[in-house]
């Protein structure tokens, strides 16, 4: 538990109750209920447009639900006044990395430490170096994003998110923009985080990662959770016809 500026404590769990979201006439999420427990690794799978990224963006505070209740670490994100409390307490890793191109790896990681957590430059660099070491990027501190491979950029992005000591980590297709041979270096970092007990919600197309690392796999289809369970249940023995269809297509490719 960490405390927010106004003294509320932030946990590591997520509760979604009857969450809906539409973009214009398109209903992206229809009445979603989902719980993520402290230390749990939940992997969201499903076709493009099934709503999994939107769900993740709602949990991380980048979008707001149209209706329903969203508690992230105990913060009621559906209350506009309180939603900003979550900022800086959850980590978000994006498909396109979104590193700050004008800052080197060290600068990317220290920015929030210095400006949000008000650390001195020395303190911030010590914390950042630890985070960069955790993702195996301690030797590339001086490199700018454009001088790093996609996999390296994504590892710096993970370090940047980790450095502020988040309660929950969200991964939005973190390996989808990577060349196939670079996927492994990122998933292995994600796996080690999971082993260390980090609460994680992961949107991915990497079924290998889901199989080996997820505590629970959630299959989304057309804005609803069609099926969920352990990786064995959902990936090996899917019950829902849409899950069967989706997995058949994924494994075919």
């Amino acid at each position: 538990m960490t405390a927010t500026a106004n003294g509320a404590t932030i946990g590591s769990n997520v509760q979604l109750r009857a969450v809906t979201k539409a973009f214009g006439a398109v209903e992206v999420l229809k009445n979603i209920d989902l719980e993520v427990e402290d230390g749990e690794v939940v992997v969201l799978i499903g076709a493009s447009g099934s709503g999994k990224s939107t769900l993740l963006r709602i949990m991380s505070g980048l979008e707001t639900a149209d209706s329903g209740q969203v508690f992230v670490g105990g913060i009621p994100m559906h209350e506009p006044k309180r939603a900003p409390e979550i900022r800086g307490h959850v980590g978000m890793v994006f498909q396109q990395f979104n590193l700050f191109p004008h800052l080197n790896a060290m600068g990317n990681v220290t920015l929030a430490l210095r400006k949000v957590l008000k650390m001195s430059t020395n303190e911030a660099e010590a914390v950042a170096l630890k985070a960069l070491t955790r993702v195996g990027m301690q030797d590339r501190c001086e490199n700018y994003p454009s001088q790093l491979s996609g996999g390296q950029q994504q590892r710096v992005a993970i370090a940047r998110a980790l450095a502020v000591n988040p309660r929950i980590m969200f991964f939005d297709e973190a390996t989808s923009a990577l060349d196939p041979e670079l996927v492994g270096e990122v998933t292995s970092v994600m796996r080690s985080l999971a082993t260390e007990g980090m609460t994680m919600v992961v949107v991915t197309h990497e079924m290998g990662f889901a199989q080996r690392t997820a505590d629970r796999v959630v299959f989304m289809d057309d804005g609803v959770i069609a099926e969920q369970g352990t990786p064995e249940q959902v990936l090996q023995n899917p019950q829902h016809p849409r899950t069967q269809q989706f997995l058949a297509r994924v494994f075919e490719a």
């Binding site: 700050f100 191109p101 994003p145």
Partner: protein
Amino acid sequence: MNWQLIWISLPQLLRAFLLTLELAVVSIIGCTVIGLLVGGLRTVRLRIVAGLARAYVEVFRGSPLPITLLFVYFGAALYLGYSSNVFAAAAVGLSVYHGAYVAEIFRSGIQAVPSAQREAAQTLGLSAMQTFRFVVLPQTRRIVFPPLIGQFISLIKDTSIAFVIGLVELMKAGQAIVDRTAEPIPIYLTIAALYFVICYPLSLWVRRNERKIVPA
């Protein structure tokens, strides 16, 4: 044509030139501050604020500089009395006028930064102001720098229009000499050369640096 007149008038012209430079420097600072503020406000979500910023830009881009200068000067004279300072009026007029153009330069630079950069900053806990200052603004440098210097060059030349409110800057000083001597060519050539001496290096400097403003 009396070319010797150039040497005779030079001390007088240089004194006026110094005033022109002072006016340019003060106005460049002024229009950059105004432009940054108005350009930033044009990109905020609050429609009223963005609308007011847009109105500012349209009003000053839509009226000629001499009119702006006259309004500022006589407006100030009306409210502050005729002791009001011509130099200050010229600096304010040039700043608000060029501030409108500078605002558009900053706005386009700000909007060229992908919104994903703001999202990344937001999830890290940076406030809107911190995000603007430490994430968005530094990334606008490469986009903003060349047109901004171009605008500064126009401003330097536009200081000559301050003669309409009676400021004895380079242009006005030259005209006075021409009126006295009836030798327009040598004097106006000298004046043109003095403006050129300031503006051309700036333009060269942009060309040298526009590729290496942002690392990597």
